[in-house]
């Protein structure tokens, strides 16, 4: 076990991770992580526009983990002990930032999420902007309030295709991972 700490450290160092966290998500923890990310960005990122985009994407991703968790805990576990488990890794390399998040989700919601991801990835920037406006104005609220804007906003701030994966965990749960890249340079519009 003891050697694995070094291996983990070495891995995180080599991959230029500025933040790595795995555990239960709460509003307090999200605040603490955002505070940390903001401090790191102030030190590492000279362009305030990039800082804002990275901060925005990290915030939306963390809040997705908080809202859309699904406990992979065995059924005999007390519901009270269920935690909103998630993992988040933020890497900073020369080309830009990568915000990786992962959480378990209910198997029966995978196809819906996948189709929304594919829809967003199928849009050119201008189409994504139109999709944002029509989703904002259509008047429906989801129970978390965003009305399905989260992924659209993440994709717009990223400016790149969203990378994602689904790994089945058991018959009811799937592990969902999302990688959002943000380039270090903003291309003029």
């Amino acid at each position: 076990m003891i050697e694995r700490i070094f291996d983990l450290y070495d891995d995180l160092e080599k991959q230029r991770f500025m933040v790595a966290f795995k555990g239960g998500m709460s509003p307090e923890l999200i605040s603490a992580l955002l505070d940390l990310v903001e401090q790191r960005l102030m030190a590492s990122e000279p362009d305030p526009r990039i800082r804002k985009r990275v901060f925005n994407v990290v915030m939306e991703c963390l809040q997705n983990l908080y809202h859309h968790r699904h406990s992979a805990a065995p059924k005999d576990l007390d519901a009270q002990t269920e935690e909103r488990q998630g993992v988040v890794l933020i890497a900073h390399e020369q080309a830009g930032y990568s915000i990786l998040t992962g959480n378990s989700m209910a198997q029966d919601q995978v196809s819906d999420l996948k189709s929304r991801l594919d829809r967003v990835n199928g849009c050119a920037p201008e189409q994504l902007h139109e999709l944002y406006k029509s989703t904002l104005s259509n008047g429906t609220f989801t129970k978390t309030g965003g009305g399905g804007l989260g992924l659209i906003d993440i994709a717009r701030k990223s400016g790149q295709k969203l990378e994602y994966g689904f790994v089945p965990m058991d018959e009811n749960s799937t592990f969902f991972s999302l990688n959002v890249n943000i380039a270090s340079r903003i291309e003029p519009k």
Partner: protein
């Protein structure tokens, strides 16, 4: 009616809704996990204010960040003001954005395209967080 005076927090904006002057201010960050809960009393306040509004109502929005959960709630706030304007009142929106924050400017323009209210876009050095 009672004014709304809320101090800002790292996740919620400073709110000053002044019924006496018709000046409504929203400033700072709006990134709470539960935006619906935060905005409900603000939207209800406008409903009440609309029964005897001032000659001019001005909403000043100075946000550094807002999350997608807040964006629908902010739209609801605008819709209430749109009703107030449709009833024959003067209503203005001042949308502030930080220098170079074209994303925030565009967010304001998106609201402007959806809502029938006169928007003025104002560039500031930095959003005042107090």
């Amino acid at each position: 009616m009672t004014d709304i005076q809320l101090e800002g927090t790292p996740k919620t904006p400073t709110v000053h809704f002044d019924g006496g002057s018709g000046l409504l201010q929203l400033r700072g960050r709006s990134i709470p996990e539960n935006s619906i809960e935060f905005y409900k009393p603000l939207i209800e306040w406008i409903d009440q204010y609309a029964r005897s509004p001032k000659a001019t109502t001005q909403l000043r929005v100075q946000l550094e960040y807002f999350n997608t959960s807040s964006s629908k709630c902010i739209l609801d706030l605008f819709k209430k003001l749109e009703q107030l304007r449709n009833a024959g009142n003067d209503v203005q929106v001042l949308w502030h954005y930080e220098v170079d924050d074209e994303d925030m400017l565009e967010a304001g323009e998106d609201y402007q395209a959806i809502i029938n209210l006169p928007f003025t876009m104002i560039q500031v050095e930095e959003v005042d967080e107090n």
